[in-house]
């Protein structure tokens, strides 16, 4: 599939900036006119939207393959909740056309955290990923629902109930697998070990996030990091599992530096609308 150019958030503005002009023309004022906060806001919408979109697509891969039809539905329900969240964030970021962002960006333009793009592995690894992500997302959305930004607070207030359920479900499965049979314990431990190195990225604060935090529109994730670690330790304790030792953290998803897994996920997800751009469903 040929690579498509990255999508600009405001195509017209960029096009104006690129107007042909002579080499000796005065630089125009609007060349410096991009608002850094606007950029940060756009980036933030992409991060939240891409987290939900990519994890939703991952969970959707379980459809028809889960250990039982009931679990199949549980995972598909979570996937649909997440894709609903992604639609709201990405629509907002792209003037109502979230599909364009979902289906026509290449891998380097995705801003999700690395945890959500990790492969499903076995059921235990999927549950480990869900526990680590949903607990974080729940704490984030709880705070975000208090944001003075009306859009972010409204979305978070709606989504926080969905995410609370994801967190509870993942916690219950973690306890059952961790404190289950010898095999389920081993698989749950391996799944956690796989995912653990991606936790620090959830609490990374870079320039974009710093700008948003300074504006007091979004929470600083470091403010709930100790609560997060205590909550995870609580679930693992109930599951009779040890908290995994800290590993060398892997960062970069927020800057578009992804693991090799995301490209494969996007190839499947984007194939249809890229190959048949006029397809309707």
């Amino acid at each position: 599939m040929p690579a498509l150019p990255p999508i600009d958030k405001d195509v017209q503005k960029r096009a104006e900036k690129a107007r042909p002009k002579g080499a000796f023309d005065e630089p125009q004022a609007d060349e410096q006119a991009t608002d850094p906060l606007e950029d940060a806001y756009y980036e933030y919408l992409l991060r939240l939207g891409d987290d939900s979109l990519v994890l939703g697509q991952r969970l959707g891969e379980w459809c028809g393959h889960a250990p039982s039809v009931e679990v199949d539905l549980s995972l598909a329900n979570m996937a649909l909740d997440l894709i609903g969240q992604a639609t709201l964030f990405l629509d907002k970021a792209n003037n109502g056309d979230g599909d364009e962002l979902a289906f026509k960006r290449d891998v380097l333009d995705f801003k999700n955290c690395l945890l959500v793009e990790q492969p499903n592995g076995d059921f235990a690894q999927t549950i480990a990923r869900q526990l680590l992500f949903s607990t974080w997302q729940h704490m984030l959305y709880q705070q975000l629902s208090e944001s003075p930004d009306a859009f972010l607070s409204a979305i978070a207030a709606k989504a926080v109930k969905e995410v609370a359920y994801h967190r509870e479900l993942a916690s219950e499965w973690t306890v059952r697998l961790g404190d289950g049979t010898e095999e389920s314990t081993r698989r749950m431990r391996d799944g956690l070990d796989w995912c653990w190195r991606f936790v620090p990225e959830l609490f990374e604060v870079d320039e974009t996030l710093e700008e948003m935090i300074a504006r007091q529109t979004v929470p600083d994730p470091r403010s709930f990091e100790s609560d997060y670690r205590a909550a995870i330790a609580g679930v693992l304790g109930e599951a009779k599992l040890d908290v995994p030792p800290d590993q060398r953290p892997i960062l970069g998803g927020r800057r578009g530096h992804h693991s090799e897994h995301l490209g494969h996920l996007l190839a499947v997800m984007q194939f249809l609308p890229r190959t048949y751009p006029d397809a309707v469903w």
């Binding site: 250990p67 039982s68 039809v69 009931e70 679990v71 539905l73 549980s74 329900n77 479900l169 059952r176």
Partner: protein
């Protein structure tokens, strides 16, 4: 995996004031997950406001072979229906 799990009967209350109705069954390893499976299987399209699950094995059922003595004696007892007197139009609920 799920074949090792016991079966649970699921009852949904569609809205406040109505009784729970039997809607089907799910497999689940224990009662908490039975409730979650019931939620994910039977209330994903806003079908209910309350859920009950009960282990299928705990339900005491009538014996189909005994259906004759159990149910047929009621067939010709039409006087048990409250249809032998007129209800005034003003009475809305009875």
């Amino acid at each position: 995996m799920s074949s090792d799990w016991p079966l649970w009967e699921v009852f949904v209350r569609a809205k406040g004031g109505l009784a729970h109705r039997h809607v089907g069954s799910v497999h689940a390893p224990d009662q908490e997950l039975a409730l979650r499976h019931a939620r994910d299987t039977y209330t994903r399209r806003l079908e209910g406001v309350s859920l009950w699950v009960v282990r299928s094995a705990d339900i005491v059922a009538s014996d189909p072979d005994e259906a004759g003595p159990m149910f047929e004696p009621a067939e010709d007892k039409i006087y048990r229906h409250p249809t032998f007197y007129d209800i005034p139009d003003e009475v809305k609920h009875i």
